[in-house]
Amino acid sequence: MNISVLLSIVAETTPDRVAVRDASTGLSYGQLNRASSALGAKLKAEGFENVSMVDTNSVVFPVLFFAAAKAGIPFVPLNYRLADDQLRRQVERLDNTLVVTDAVGARRLEGLTNPTIRHRADVLASALEPAADAVVDRDDDQSGTAASWLFTSGTTGEPKIVVLKHDSLASYVLGTVDAVSADETDAVLVSVPPYHIAGLASVLTSMFAGRRMVYLEAFDAGAWVDAAAREAVTQAMVVPTMLQRLLSVLSERGETLPQLRNLSYGGGRMPIELIEAALAQLPHVGFTNAYGLTETSSTITLLGPEDHRAALESDDPIVRARLGSVGRPIPGLELEVRDEDGSPVGPRVQGEIWVRGPQVSGEYKGKGSQLLDGWFCTRDEGWLDEEGYLFLLGRVDDVIVRGGENISPGEIEDVLRTDPGVADVAVVAEADETWGEVPVAVIVVAKGAAIDHDALKVLVRSKLRSSRAPARIIEVEQLPYNETGKLLRHSVRDLLREHAA
């Protein structure tokens, strides 16, 4: 089913409610629906095969997304933070594309022959005041076609294009959100970038709930707090690095954001100390930890507000530990942890995480479906506790193989983080003549503290086993993260080379 049908339902039910607002423009659900219909008809008439966007968040983002859906072509939000040559390479992979961007973006793409480039202000104006009276919604069955193509971050090679079909996205939304269930006063503050699956999923779930979406052009902690207070924001999604900065701005200003009810987080490892601090500083806010991938149409497991509270209040170490988990699979989704032979393993045994369900795409453009009997291998490592709470250890590709033994960096990082002198840490593999690979810890030392390298090695040895102890420890000013809080392990390995033993 075409995802634009969901918008038409909301537009018919609450046409006058504000759908989306950025710094300069606001659109009601009726306007968003009409504008995307008008633009969709135009895109179809002009014969574009897809619509891409090189831009920050604005009301143009949902307009383009639904217009593309109505035209029956994929929407391709591109990472405007890429270097010019990488960005141009991605645009070149899109046949007969319309690129919507600003003056800066247009200059960056100069000389390319395959795209048609238009400025976002012109595109928005023509959508809001179409020259001709459009347009019927396209109700054709779009189940098998792509609603969006998203480029992977390409940390392990040339970026792949994930195909997200209408059916996968619609089943995620319909399975987890009640139509027009948001209160008139509900508002979500969106600061995740538009080219990220969380940005795309946010439009769909907020729209179907009939919630007001407030767009921040890009994340800045001060601007975020300003917007949250001004717009009486009730919920938002942040990544761990954002949360840390938000908490310090809030405490500097003595601001508590009394309207805020729900904060969800994901996209990177959340230190337990940080989430504990957040719970203490914002006791009126429910926290939700979400784990998902682009290939799974966003969220597949959730640790909800009740889980957070239960963990925080419990004396049982097993329940308490769940504050560091990503929760349990959402309804309708199957999840298994499997060993190298592909057999499911029992509780507390680590392995690869596999998922199956209607929201799982598992397809790359030009490479076809990666599903095995409906199951998708996430390439993430983890383990389940007795009640099915999932604990993530990291990417399978990041596993360190020392003398034939598989070591997850995550478990070593967790132990090192318990030392108060360690502000942040990444453990990566380093080539070793004897062992093939050995773990090396790259540590950011806490302000005003000092660390004892040998004591830290002893700590890991005592909590885990001797093979886990870092072969050496390197101190750095900071670790490299991307803008969604994902640790860039390949850049950490570059740091190692700079600090050769």
Binding site: N2, V5, D139, G175, T176, V177, T205, M237, L302
Partner: protein, 100 residues
């Protein structure tokens, strides 16, 4: 009664109430709403028929297990929805804490 061909993506209208649906998964069945066959064009007037105790609700999905038919309600109204006389079951949404 005449049987219409149901295709995915098709919009269908109740002849007896305000209810409207869109077909998500098609099946070869006779689809009725409030015990009247559904039609392919919005009727000029929609009398409220008895049967308001089994309403078809906006944004909800209804399915017929036997045939695999799956529809989404795009406008609420009196029901029930039936496929070859069998009442369609509502697919429950498990509303989750918002995570996006």
């Amino acid at each position: 009664m005449s049987t219409i061909t149901i295709t995915p993506g098709q919009r269908l209208y109740s002849a007896a109430s305000t209810a409207e649906i869109i077909v998500v998964k098609a099946a070869s069945v006779e689809l009725s709403c409030a015990w009247e066959p559904m039609v392919t064009a919005r009727p000029d007037s929609t009398p409220q028929s008895p049967g308001a105790d089994s309403p078809v609700q906006l944004g909800k999905r209804y399915t017929d297990e036997k045939s695999g038919l799956l529809v989404l309600c795009t406008k609420g109204g009196a029901g029930p929805l039936t496929a070859d006389g069998n009442i369609l079951g509502e697919l429950q949404t498990q509303a989750l804490p918002s995570s996006d």
